[in-house]
Symmetry: C2
Subunit: 217 residues, 2 copies
């Protein structure tokens, strides 16, 4: 049976899982809102980001409380410090989903994504969801092999991002500069979202092995 | 006289100041490299980012060491936890300076900044330097009023960023889509750099007052 101390320590991990779930849901819904020009959905993503922010603050309070009352050492201490970093990543991932929802709202009732980029953006949204879900899983499983996999999963995102640039820089681009600006930012948001998922997984690797993975460029 | 414990605690703050100094120097040099198409300078910025990363790792080791050996409470504990967050901000600010230097390198021997945007980008670079220098100062002075000022200083960055968008979306824009993409990313990098400076200052406010400032949007 777990004592209160370990319950609280475990609840920090559960908060991280919940933050990952919310960020995944947010980027999935933001992508749909963007591609379907669904204003109500975009607004629900923008509003729901507060929930992730509140979880981050709550987690920080718990972490400081544990440090003060329990003075944990070794692995537990590393878990707490690392959790603070993971929650910062997940909070930021939520922000990026909100940025995408804001782009959707800004261009409503149009969709800013040209038809020939729909499939790519769709794929970026799905991949972002998969990456953050996997990152959330590794927080619980502490599976180093799975956590390390996220780096190569992220290569897929880089490929999709490059596809977007190819479209943008193709001389046949016919959607004007405003859409080019929107699409550039959009691609950046998905890429950064994926970076934060990878960062969470890298923190898991550090937690288990004590070794830092080189940060994503 | 300070004992070894307080010396070490203080040295964490000095590391933050040094990180801020390096990030400020990096964004200043990156801006010059970009506007003058100075390849060697761009490469020196790219290489020197390792120094900031190393400081972040060192700071983390110190922080964990202090938590384990000294089991600090109250203010000291808050200082350590907050320092971890500030160092993450400063590390990220360094990354953004490196991104700008990479853009400069990518377009060398050209400069990607159209002549009519030179002054704006110049100003963004200077403002970014001022913001991060001020953020670094507040880490030592713990001056809440000064720290809170960074939010309004950041409004200047938002204005400059908006100037860039006005140029991009002006129908007389004649620099093509590739430059529009570059300039969009460039504006985003300066804006995010400034956000991280504001975030450092907000952490100082939290450290002194115990109250969270609303995060930058």
């Amino acid at each position: 049976m777990r004592d209160a101390y370990h319950e609280e320590l475990h609840s920090i991990s559960l908060d991280l899982v919940e933050m990952a779930r919310l960020a995944g849901s947010a980027i999935g819904r933001a992508t749909t809102a963007l591609l379907d020009a669904d204003l109500r959905l975009a607004e629900s993503v923008i509003d729901s980001d507060d929930e992730i922010d509140a979880l981050e603050h709550g987690l920080e309070q718990k972490a400081i409380g544990l440090l003060v009352r329990q003075q944990p050492v070794a692995t537990d201490l590393r878990l707490i410090v690392t959790s603070l970093k993971m929650s910062a990543d997940l909070e930021r991932a939520g922000d990026l989903a909100r940025h995408i929802a804001k782009l959707a709202r800004l261009r409503y009732p149009d969709t800013m994504v040209p038809a020939d980029l729909h499939a790519t953006v769709q794929e970026m949204g799905k991949l972002a969801q998969r990456l953050i879900a996997k990152a959330g899983e590794t927080v619980i499983t502490r599976d180093v092999a799975q956590a390390k996999q996220l780096e190569s999963d992220d290569d897929e995102m880089d490929l999709l991002h490059r596809t977007i640039f190819q479209h943008l820089l193709d001389e046949r681009w016919e959607h004007g500069v405003e859409t080019a600006v929107d699409v550039t930012l959009l691609g950046r948001y998905y890429e950064r979202f994926a970076d934060h998922a990878v960062s969470v997984a890298n923190h898991v690797v550090f937690l288990v092995t004590g070794e830092h993975t080189a940060p994503a460029p």
